[in-house]
């Protein structure tokens, strides 16, 4: 029951100290309103792409599902970086966004990639690990990578793409796994020497699901899979794996554009819950019934905020003052939980968060082991440092909904 816990009698003459506490509350409440107006948030919404070829890497797309469009196509993350630290399976691509920083030259092109292990049990274990300090080398089942390039680089022309269908990158990238199309295909099929894989498991799955029959043909007829050179296939053929999430483009919108329609009233449930001048037993009894009032308050504000644009899947706000929109009050990180940048030891700042609506669009099932989260928040290096690794790992925080009491 979400109803109020106390009555405010109309035209009541408040005692002096009550008036003072109320005034104080009023002030802080007003400040909250101010903060909300100043925050500048960009939303990402799902859109079906006009054509799959618009999501190739030389067009710098922001997309979700399918396979990633690697910015630096050669030095991809490998080994430990590409696998879930709990189940050792390769991670699945969730989304990528194009977030350049115009002020610096080295970040003319900048992409952020998020990979997640599709198993919920790994995500539950990951919850414990994300609280650990960096020195203890926590194991994660969800990883985020940042890649940046200056305008003049070896992979793309310095001129903007014309988007007329004839654009091409400057060079061919590394070959990707024939099964998942996500990670580098370092191992080659010993039979046909054409199919490449990132790990044994994918080789086994591809073999079972049809490569067994085609391998033979490939050797003998050389009816190969398009290119004869070992390299990346630029055409958007379907990869063999069928469990990849459906591919969409992420469209960029400003949240303030929706403000005009939203009601101007910003009163939270909070204000009525917080003012307390009834302190008898019944109040306590009712209070006990509504456990975790803080959670309810956060949830109410969360719902109000997203109702402006219910189909948002991403909230972006790279600002030192910006705060992510948390659905719950438990499970939030404090300043000490957020580590320093792995490469330059500088501080991290909040950049963007992934909303749970994306699970609906990706068609994630609703079994007991399927993914579900409250929100996923990504913190990146404030200076967006350069380091020897092309794909730099950033910090990611997951807030899950509390598990139901009877399950």
């Amino acid at each position: 029951m979400d109803s109020d816990t106390n009555d405010v009698l109309p035209l009541q003459e408040l005692s002096l100290d009550e008036a003072i506490t109320e005034v104080e509350l009023e002030e802080s409440y007003e400040e909250d309103e101010e903060d909300e107006l100043e925050e500048y948030v960009t939303l990402g919404t799902i859109e079906k792409p006009k054509h799959p070829k618009f999501l190739l890497r030389h067009l710098f797309p922001s997309k979700t599902g399918g396979t990633p469009a690697w910015l630096d196509p050669v030095e991809l993350p490998t080994g430990k970086f590409s696998r879930c630290d709990f189940c050792e399976e390769p991670l699945q691509f969730l989304l990528q966004i194009y977030a350049p920083i115009p002020e610096k030259e080295s970040t003319f092109h900048r992409m952020l990639y998020v990979f997640i292990c599709p198993s919920m049990s790994c995500l539950l274990q990951d919850q414990h690990e994300q609280w650990k300090r960096r020195e203890e080398d926590p194991r994660r089942s969800i990883k985020v990578f940042r890649c940046q390039l200056p305008r003049l680089n070896a992979f793309y022309s310095s001129e903007p793409p014309r988007k007329d269908g004839n654009d091409k990158p400057l060079s061919v990238g590394a070959a990707l796994c024939s099964w998942c199309g996500t990670w580098k295909g370092e191992k080659v099929c010993s039979g046909c020497k054409q199919a490449r894989y990132c790990c044994e498991k994918h080789q086994a799955m591809h073999w079972k699901s049809g490569h067994k029959n085609r391998c033979h043909h490939i050797i003998h007829n050389l009816e190969s899979i398009s290119s004869s050179l070992p390299g990346e296939k630029l055409s958007r053929d379907k990869v063999a794996c069928s469990s990849l999430w459906p591919e969409y483009e992420i469209a960029i919108e400003d949240e303030c554009a929706y403000d005009a329609e939203a009601s101007e009233d910003a009163s939270y449930e909070a204000s009525s819950l917080v003012t307390q001048h009834v302190t008898d037993d019944t109040y306590q009894f009712l209070l006990d019934k509504f456990e975790a009032d803080d959670n309810k308050r956060s949830w109410a504000s969360f719902q109000e905020r997203i109702s402006k644009c219910p189909s948002q899947v991403l909230r972006y706000s790279r600002d030192l003052m910006a705060n992510p929109l948390w659905p719950l009050s438990i499970g939030r990180p404090t300043m000490t939980n957020i580590p320093k940048c792995k490469y330059c030891n500088g501080s991290l700042c909040y950049e963007f968060q992934i909303m749970p609506q994306i699970l609906y669009y990706l068609g994630v099932k609703n079994d007991s082991d399927s993914l579900d989260w409250g929100t996923i928040v990504i913190y990146t290096c404030l200076a967006s440092c350069e380091a020897s690794a092309r794909y730099k790992e950033e910090f990611i925080w997951v807030q899950l909904y509390p598990t139901t009491p009877i399950s």
Binding site: C256, A257, P327, N366
Partner: protein, 274 residues
């Protein structure tokens, strides 16, 4: 500071960047889509797993949610499951005031009762600066708080249940409300305020007795609501049989829907009483 004009990046897309031009000046952007607000209201994108299950259609009735005590966090869930049968009524709009340095700040508190007159009732209270906002917020809160109401018989178990199964009492503030089973045809013998709530709940005959400052409508309504919540909490002899627990929809919804046997005890009792 680099000019953020288009000339800086040429034709390269901006991506997710900071400050695209003026802040919050109602930049229409992709126009046309926001034309009808109605459009967005119809298209509900679920945020919780339960919401996704309901939207898919895997959960067909509120009882499945009640059985496993799953928290309902989105009011659209109740909308989808109860649909058009749900009616709402504003019980009272109360102006409340607060003393500030610059005079008094008046806000409006709305009490809304929703129900389908067939065993489900919800109560919502919301305070807001405008009446319309308060009513809208209260309706949403009421939908989130929908509870099942158990009905029973006064004497012979003929026909459908029409009254409360036993004497129940609820309390809020100083107001206590007591509901007593009544024979068919007695009607709802209650004051105007709880009568509304009981009508929404689907109770046809009942005797009531109240005590305390029933003038405070907020407490009176909450006390009645509390009373109705307790109807399913009362252990009667027909519930003495041990429950055989079934799997929650998060575990295996197919199991729940497929088995028509006695595993779900509450539904079984309703069948007996019906």
């Amino acid at each position: 500071m680099a000019e953020r004009g288009a000339g800086d990046r040429g034709g390269f897309g901006r991506g997710f960047g900071r400050g695209r031009g003026d802040r919050g000046r109602g930049d229409r952007g992709r126009g046309g889509r926001r034309g009808g607000r109605r459009d967005e209201e119809e298209k509900w994108v679920p945020v919780t797993k339960l919401g996704r299950l309901v939207k898919e259609g895997k959960i067909t009735s509120l009882e499945q949610i009640y059985l496993h005590s799953l928290p309902v966090k989105e009011h659209q869930i109740v909308d989808t499951l109860l649909g058009g049968r749900l009616k709402d009524e504003v019980m009272k709009i109360m102006p409340v005031q607060k003393q500030t340095r610059a005079g008094q700040r008046t806000r409006f508190k709305a009490f809304v009762v929703v129900g389908d007159s067939d065993g489900h009732v919800g109560l919502g209270v919301k305070c807001a600066k405008e009446v319309a906002t308060a009513i809208r917020g209260a309706i949403i809160l009421a939908k989130l708080s929908v509870v099942p109401v158990r009905r029973g018989f006064w004497g012979n178990k003929i026909g459908k249940p029409h009254t409360v199964p036993c004497k129940v009492t609820g309390k809020c503030g100083s107001v206590t409300v007591r509901l007593v089973p009544a024979p068919r045809g007695a009607g709802i013998v209650a004051a105007r305020v709880p009568k509304k709530v009981l009508q929404f709940a689907g109770i046809e005959d009942v005797y009531t007795s109240s005590r305390g400052s029933t003038k405070t409508l907020g407490n009176f309504v909450k006390a009645t609501f509390d009373c109705l919540m307790k109807t399913y909490g009362f252990l009667t002899p027909d519930l003495w049989l041990e429950t055989r627990f079934s799997k929650s929809p998060f575990q295996e919804y197919t199991d729940l829907l497929a088995k028509p046997t006695k595993t779900i005890l509450i539904e079984n009792t309703e069948r007996i009483e019906a």
